[in-house]
Amino acid sequence: MPVKVSMTVNGKPVAAEVEERTLLVTFIRENLRLTGTHVGCDTAQCGACTIHMNGNAVKACNMLAMQAEGADILTIEGVAAADGTLHPMQEAFREHHALQCGFCTPGMVMSAIDLVKRHPKPTEAVVRAELDGNFCRCTGYHNIVKAILDAAPKVAAMR
C-alpha cells in the first residue's frame, strides 16, 4: 500500500507517495535525490546516514519515511549557508583534513554539530565517546576529533 508522506527538508516542504516500508534514507536519496546522505550499512552502525530531525541527530536508515511525517529534516545539503559559505563545523573539517574519501563525512558533520550542541565545551574524551555511532575507515579519527574540538566554540558562538 503506498502512503503519502510530507515533511520539511532543508527548509522546503516536500511530499510524495511511497511504499510503506520505504526507509527515511531511501526517501531522501531516491525520492528527493539528495544523495549527500549515504548508506554504509544495513544495521544502524556506521552513521553515514545521519541527519537532523527536529533538531536532533538521527540515523535515517533506521526509521521509515512515514515516521518522519510532519518533521523538520536537515540533511548535509542544507548545512552550508545559502550562498555556499561553509558552516563552521564543515570549515573545521576542511581546515584539519578531517575527511579523506568523504563517504562518512556528511554523517560525521551532522553528528558533530549535534554533539557540540549537547556539549558546547567538549573534551577529547567526550568527543571520542560521542562519535561511537559514526564509523570512519579512512582518517583514524585523529583529525575529526581535532576539527570538532576546534569548531566547538565557533559553533556555540553561532547561537
Binding site: E19, R21, R29, E30, R33, L34, T35, G36, T37, H38, V39, G40, C41, D42, T43, Q45, C46, A48, T75, I76, E77, V79, A80, G84, L86, Q90, F93, R94, E95, H97, L99, Q100, C101, G102, F103, C104, T105, P106, V109, E124, V127, R128, A129, L131, D132, N134, F135, C136, R137, C138, T139, G140, Y141, H142, N143, I144, V145, K146
Partner: protein
C-alpha cells in the same frame, strides 16, 4: 611573479568542498534513466552442490525483468574471472588455477558465493523476488581453517587441487640458511597466526552497467580503484567485448584499501545484463554482502625462526607460511603472500640468509587478496615480533639489537631479491625514541604498577616496498600486467591546466597533491590546475591506485608530461624572443633568455601555442598537450620506526594505548597534512588488526560468524589515541620527485608495535591477534597458572 612552490606545503584539499556539502558523486548516487535493479542470490552454505536452481516463481514475481543463473552465463559464453599473477611452484609447475565463474557453476564454494541474479523494476521488487529463487543444495563438508586445509581427509574445494594446494613456493637458499642455523648461538622461534581481516571500506561496492544500442557501447560505473584494469580484464578475458566499446567510470569512491582493485562477478553480470535488457542495471551491496563477498585480507599461519650469533647479530631467518587464498583466485591473490611478502623479510636488517616457503591453500571462504599493506604487514609482523622476542631472550635492549643489525650502506641487495636504493633507519628510530620519551618509560611503568596496571613498550621498525616495478621484472616473476602509469597534461590557451591521470583517488587527495606537483613545476597557482581521474573515456590509460604507488609512479608520469610541456614551451619561447633554444631557461612560471632581461610568462606561451600566428609552424605543431608513460626502474622503500606504549588492566585484560609514536621516512613529502592523514588511517587499521578485528568462520558449518558490524569489531573513535607523528626525509633516488609512498605504512608497522608492547606488559612470549580483553586476560591467567 613570486616563487610558486607548493612542495612541502599543507595545501587544503580541493576535493573537500564537494564532500563536505553532500556534492560527492559515488556510484550509488548515479541514477541513469530507466534503471533496473539487481539483487544477487548468494549461497547460504560454505560448500554445496547445486542440484537445481528453480527460477520460475521469481521470474513471475511483480516487476521482475530477468533471473539469470550459472547456466545462463555459461550459455552466453562468459568466461571466469582471471588471476593477474602466475606463480610457479617449487617444482617448476604453474599454480593451480581453478575457474572463478561470475555465477556459480554446479557448486557453491563459500557463504556468499553468487548463485543467481534477479533484476527488477525496483530494488524492493528484486529483493522480494530473490527470496523466491529456490535452490536445491546438496550440502557438502567444508574447510575454512587455513591450517586444516591440507590435512588428510579435508574436503577438496576444487577437483583440480585435491589437497587444496594452489602452490608451494619458496624464496632463498635453504641449504645456506639451515647451515647458518646450525652455527647459531641463539635461535628464536615463534608460531603465530596473522589474523584474517575484512576490509570494510565504508562505501559498499556498487556497479551500474548501461548498454547503448545507439552505438553498441557499454558504460560501467563502478566503485573501483583502477577503472582501466577493470575494463581490460572484463573485456579481454571475461566478456570478450571490444575494449573501445566499453567505458568504465569510477567516480568518487568511498575508500578501497585494496578491496576495490579486483574485477568482481557482480560488475561483469550488470554489464552483460544491461545489453540483454537494453536498460541500465544497478547493483549496490548491502553491508552484509561486503562482509561475505569483498575480498578479505591476511590469513597466514606462520612458523618463523631467527638465528643469532653471541653478539645479537642476525645470521639467518627461516619462515614457513601457509596462506589462505579463499575459494577462488581473486585478481592479485597469488602474488600477495609471495612476491609482496617473502621479499620483505629482510626488513631493515642485514640478515645475510633468508629462506621462506609459502604454501597457498584453497578453503571454503571468501577470496583473499590485497588489503592495505598486502603481504608487507604480514612480513613486518614476522620480522618485528621475532626481533623483539630475540632481544628479550638474549637480554639485549630491543632498540640496541635493531641498531646492531641495521643496514647502513646503500644501495643494499637483500637476500630476498630486493635492492634497497636508500634509507636511514637509525634516524627514524632515534626520532621515535625521543618523541616517545623512551628514556622515561621505566618511571611510567613503575607509576602504572602503583595503580595496578601493567605497562609495556613495543617497537616496530618496518620497511615497505611501494610502486611495484619495473614491468619486465614483474613479468618475469609472473605478472600478467604492466606496472607503469600514464598521465596527460593539457594546457589550455589561457594557461590553465587540466591533468589526466591513470591513478585513482578514493580518499588519498590526488586532486590536491598532484595539482601541487604540477603547479610548482609550472610556476602557476594550484587553483589553475585540475586533476581528472577515474574515467576510461577521458584518460589515455591507467594502472590505478594500490600499493602506495600513485605519487611515485602516477605522479612521475605527470612530471614527465609536464617536462615535455616545458620543453615545447622553450621552443616557442625561443621563437618569440628570437633566441637560441639552448639559451632559454624556465623557472617560476617564466621563460627567460639567460643573461638577458628578455622573458615571456607561461600563459603567453600557452596562448601562442593555440593562436600560432607568430609561431615556427614549419618546425613545431601548434597546441600544448603532452602525454607520458612511466615505468619505474625499481620499487621505492619507505621505512620507519613506531613506538607504542600500552597499559593492561590485569583484572579485565583490557588494553589501552597510552602513546603511539610513528616516525616515517617517505622520502620527499609534497603535502604533509595529507601524508599525516594517511598515517593516521593506516595506524588505525593496524591497531584494528592487533586489538579488535578478526574474521571468523565457524569450523563446522563454514558460516561467516563475523558477518555484520556488530560481530566484526571495527575501530571507533574511542578505541584509538591521538597519534604523535614525525617524518625524516631520505629522498628516493630513482624518481624525479624523490617520493616513496605513504598509504600503507601505518597498517604495516602498527600491529607488531602494539603486540610487542602488549607482550612486554603481560610478560609472555606471544598473544594472538586480535588481543581482545578476553585473549589478554587468558594469557595472564595461563601465565599465573604456569
Amino acid at each position: 611573479m613570486g616563487s610558486l612552490n607548493f612542495i612541502g606545503a599543507s595545501v587544503k584539499r580541493k576535493e573537500d568542498y564537494r564532500f563536505l556539502t553532500g556534492g560527492g558523486q559515488y556510484t550509488d548516487d548515479v541514477a541513469p534513466e530507466r534503471a533496473t535493479y539487481a539483487v544477487f542470490v548468494r549461497s547460504p552454505h560454505a560448500h554445496a552442490r547445486i542440484r537445481k536452481v528453480d527460477t520460475a516463481k521469481a521470474a513471475k514475481a511483480a516487476g521482475v525483468l530477468a533471473v539469470y543463473t550459472g547456466e545462463d552465463v555459461a550459455k552466453a559464453g562468459i568466461n571466469g574471472l582471471p588471476c593477474g599473477w602466475l606463480i610457479t611452484d617449487v617444482n617448476g609447475q604453474p599454480m593451480k588455477e581453478p575457474p572463478y565463474p561470475v555465477l556459480a557453476q554446479g557448486k557453491a564454494r563459500y557463504v556468499g558465493d553468487r548463485v543467481a541474479v534477479v533484476i527488477a523494476e525496483t530494488y524492493n521488487q528484486a529483493k522480494d523476488a530473490a527470496e523466491q529463487v529456490e535452490v536445491d543444495y546438496e550440502v557438502l563438508p567444508a574447510v575454512t581453517d587455513t591450517a586444516s586445509a591440507r590435512k588428510k581427509g579435508a574436503p577438496a574445494v576444487h577437483d583440480i587441487a585435491p589437497d587444496n594446494t594452489c602452490y608451494v613456493w619458496a624464496l632463498g637458499d635453504k641449504a645456506k640458511v639451515d647451515e647458518a642455523f646450525k652455527a647459531a648461538a641463539h635461535v628464536t622461534k615463534l608460531e603465530f597466526v596473522n589474523n584474517r581481516l575484512i576490509p570494510n571500506a565504508i562505501e559498499p561496492r556498487s556497479a551500474i552497467g548501461a548498454y547503448s544500442r545507439a552505438d553498441d557501447s557499454y558504460t560501467l560505473y563502478v566503485a573501483s580503484q583502477n577503472p582501466h584494469v577493470e575494463r581490460l580484464l572484463m573485456t579481454a578475458f571475461v566478456l570478450g567485448l571490444p575494449e573501445h566499446k566499453v567505458r568504465v567510470v569510477a567516480p568518487d569512491v568511498g575508500g578501497g584499501f585494496g578491496s576495490k582493485i579486483y574485477l568482481y562477478g557482480e560488475d561483469v553480470v550488470v554489464t552483460w545484463a544491461s545489453k540483454q535488457l537494453n536498460r541500465p542495471v544497478k547493483w549496490t551491496a548491502e553491508r552484509v554482502e561486503s562482509f561475505m563477498s569483498d575480498a578479505h585480507g591476511r590469513d597466514h599461519v606462520t612458523t618463523a625462526e631467527l638465528a643469532l650469533d653471541k653478539d645479537g647479530k642476525f645470521l639467518a631467518m627461516r619462515v614457513h607460511t601457509t596462506a589462505n587464498l579463499g575459494a577462488y583466485l581473486s585478481t592479485f591473490a597469488s602474488c600477495i603472500p609471495t612476491i609482496l611478502y617473502a621479499t620483505l623479510l629482510a626488513g631493515q636488517y642485514t640478515t645475510p640468509q633468508i629462506y621462506c616457503e609459502v604454501t597457498a591453500v584453497f578453503t571454503n571462504t571468501a577470496p583473499v587478496d590485497a588489503y592495505r599493506g598486502a603481504g608487507r604487514p604480514e612480513a613486518t609482523y614476522v620480522v618485528e615480533r621475532l626481533v623483539e622476542t630475540a632481544a628479550r631472550e638474549t637480554k639485549i635492549d630491543p632498540a640496541e639489537i635493531r641498531r646492531r643489525n641495521f643496514i647502513r650502506s646503500f644501495p643494499y641487495q637483500t637476500p630476498v631479491a630486493l635492492l634497497y636504493d636508500t634509507g636511514n633507519y637509525e634516524a627514524t628510530l632515534d626520532a621515535a625514541m625521543k618523541l616517545g620519551d623512551v628514556a622515561g618509560f621505566a618511571k611510567r611503568k613503575e607509576e602504572a604498577a602503583k595503580r595496578g596496571r601493567l605497562r609495556g613498550l613495543g617497537y616496530s621498525c618496518y620497511i615497505e616496498a611501494c610502486g611495484i616495478a619495473p614491468s619486465n621484472v614483474a613479468g618475469a616473476l609472473g605478472a600478467r600486467a604492466g606496472l607503469f602509469e600514464a598521465g596527460e597534461v593539457r594546457v589550455h590557451p589561457t594557461g590553465k591546466v587540466t591533468v589526466f591521470t591513470g591513478s585513482h583517488s578514493h580518499g588519498q587527495g590526488h586532486e590536491t597533491t598532484f595539482a601541487q606537483v604540477v603547479a610548482s613545476r609550472l610556476g602557476i597557482p594550484v587553483e589553475d590546475v585540475d586533476i581528472v581521474h577515474g574515467d576510461t573515456s577521458k584518460i589515455l590509460f591507467g594502472m590505478g591506485t594500490y600499493g602506495s604507488r600513485s605519487l611515485a609512479v602516477g605522479g612521475t608520469a605527470i612530471v614527465k608530461a609536464v617536462d615535455k610541456v616545458i620543453a615545447k614551451g622553450k621552443k616557442i619561447a625561443a621563437h618569440l624572443m628570437e633566441a637560441a633554444e639552448a639559451d632559454v631557461e624556465f623557472a617560476d612560471g617564466v621563460f627567460k633568455v639567460s643573461g638577458t632581461d628578455k622573458q615571456v610568462p607561461f600563459a603567453q606561451i600557452a596562448l601562442t601555442a593555440y593562436v600560432p600566428h607568430n609561431y615556427p609552424l614549419d618546425k613545431l605543431e601548434p597546441g600544448l598537450n603532452e602525454n607520458a608513460f612511466y615505468d619505474p626502474t625499481n620499487f621505492t622503500f619507505p621505512a620507519g620506526s613506531y613506538v607504542c606504549e600500552v597499559e593492561v588492566d590485569p583484572d579485565t585484560g583490557k588494553t589501552t594505548i597510552e602513546s603511539f609514536v610513528a616516525v616515517d621516512d617517505f622520502g620527499k613529502v609534497i603535502n604533509p597534512m595529507i601524508v599525516a592523514g594517511q598515517v593516521h588511517g593506516g595506524l588505525t587499521q593496524g591497531i584494528g588488526q592487533a586489538l579488535l578485528e578478526g574474521c571468523r568462520y565457524d569450523p563446522e558449518t563454514g558460516q561467516l560468524v563475523t558477518g555484520t558490524m556488530s560481530d566484526y569489531c571495527l575501530p571507533r573513535a574511542g578505541d584509538v589515541p591521538s597519534f604523535k607523528l614525525d617524518t625524516r626525509e631520505t629522498p628516493c633516488t630513482h624518481n624525479p620527485l624523490g617520493v616513496k609512498g605513504c598509504g600503507e605504512a601505518g597498517a604495516i608497522g602498527a600491529p607488531a608495535a602494539l603486540m610487542n608492547a602488549i607482550t612486554d606488559a603481560v610478560g609472555v612470549r606471544d598473544v594472538p591477534m586480535p588481543a581482545t580483553a578476553e585473549t589478554v586476560w587468558r594469557a595472564l591467567a595461563s601465565k599465573k597458572a604456569a
